[in-house]
Subunit: 344 residues, 2 copies
Amino acid sequence: MVAQGHRSADTRLVGLDWGTSSLRAYRYDVGARVVESRELPAGLMRLADSNGPGTSSDRFERVFREACGDWVAAAPAAPIVACGMVGSAQGWRQAAYLEVPVALEQIASRLTAFETAQGVTVRIVPGLIERGVLPDVMRGEETQVVGALEAAAVPPGARVLVGLPGTHSKWVEVRNRAVEHLRTFMTGELYQTLCAHTILGRTLRQPSSPSHSAFDRGIEVTRSAEGRGGLLSTIFSARALGLTGALREEEGGDYLSGLLIGHELAGLEELRPDVFDTTSEIVLAGSAELCERYRRALAIRGCRKVVLVPAAAQLGLWRLAAWAGLVEDPAEARGDSSPVAEPR
Amino acid sequence: MVAQGHRSADTRLVGLDWGTSSLRAYRYDVGARVVESRELPAGLMRLADSNGPGTSSDRFERVFREACGDWVAAAPAAPIVACGMVGSAQGWRQAAYLEVPVALEQIASRLTAFETAQGVTVRIVPGLIERGVLPDVMRGEETQVVGALEAAAVPPGARVLVGLPGTHSKWVEVRNRAVEHLRTFMTGELYQTLCAHTILGRTLRQPSSPSHSAFDRGIEVTRSAEGRGGLLSTIFSARALGLTGALREEEGGDYLSGLLIGHELAGLEELRPDVFDTTSEIVLAGSAELCERYRRALAIRGCRKVVLVPAAAQLGLWRLAAWAGLVEDPAEARGDSSPVAEPR
């Protein structure tokens, strides 16, 4: 405990990436490095629905203490910044939605600060909203975008497309370090649901290793004449190809994954033909395995200026805290933002 | 029992529409009229998965006896014709898939006859398959198509599009009384799954009566520029519109239904622009409520030559039995096939 307390005294920032399914807590040192991190399966979905004792706010507070109470006790002056669904109406405290277009630095000036029951100040990053006939929203991904641009060393005036694959994939257009548009695709959630709860899942078998050829085949279908029929039509082929012996059970999952990601990219191109084409500079952030799938799908479409960024949220939390004046960048930081992964 | 036996002695045909979720049994009299019908929730999904005693075949036989054992005992000479997933690999006895194009009458010449353990002969209608890069299949719907064309009094040389909304919607192109193409859309299953197992369902509330305006709004989205992004993108709007207060919880289900049916029709038009347009003659068969939804969606797209047919499967079972020489049409039948529902 003494060692723990001693180490924690170095804490310059506590960052929380608190989403629908989990809480990731990060402890940063004076060099902006994450020196400790913890993950709890205590996402919003569980806390908001829980029938446990106390109010929803009590439950958030309890999980917060469990995740990083010792860090906070050892370094009470360290600011605490949280992003994600924790700032939604069903979260711990509701934070704003900022309307796009919005400069990334502007996000840091609109943190929602509140005191916990124990008198600790927590600041929640606002989400972003794009109004229009079909509005779109995100919470947490704005922080990933901030971190991804930093990690990919995107020049200030550049135009880039940031792809954030996941349960709900987000595609975010950034120009001059401002978010101009965002669009959500429910690709990850639909994939999980199709596998778990529809007839398609009945004939899938988990492969020992992913089948690239089945994945590519799914992508190609979405680029073919048959793909014009849309997802409701193409997904049935996962079954019909199985019935005719043209797709093995252990290929079904990757084929379906290819279909869905292919439809996502085709839809993005239809929505933003002037932004998404083979010349686009694309930054991908999210799970490494999933980002690799998207890189592969993008390559099939001819998009090769793709950079993968790990740990975008933790980078973004520090950057926002720095912009908000809550932490001071280490002297070398501004000149040291080389890409974490090289472009191919 | 005597009365029952006496009535059943009039039986000229026993027809079974035995699908994934239920078995519908029909008893026809000499006038080709269904004089008795029964429904058991003993579809394939339950029988194939069941852990009950006996083989899968035993279970089918038991349900068969439960549904119509008394009819068969009272009229042992009456033929028994079954259609649907009962003829699949997981069914009672596997029936063929006939390749399209195929003349409808041809279907009747390819019934798969077998004897049950009790020595009763059952004949199963073959399914249809369209081969190609993305093959497509159906079982049971071929019988609905036969019945729908008869009920809608489609002239022999006509070209019509038969829509069979349901768990898996089928669109079947018929010309000169032959099936030329078929295409499946998993619209119904996806709708159920999205409502039951995704975040979209969390903010839906069952309305006291369907909201036509929300449904129409969903359809219109699929016809707009935003709809080009495809289903993975548009369905998220059911959530985002809710968050921004632009869609009420009790409107969410109908809005989503409109989105899905709208994407289905948009996909069909992309796949078959020369077949599906505002001049198409369309026959819809299936649940009355669902067919009304499709009629509404088709009207928004400008398709107004639409006929709704109830009870297509039971009509089709008799027609196939007649073509197979198993029953004799009543004298007046051929001149009496007026539309069951008027076109609008």
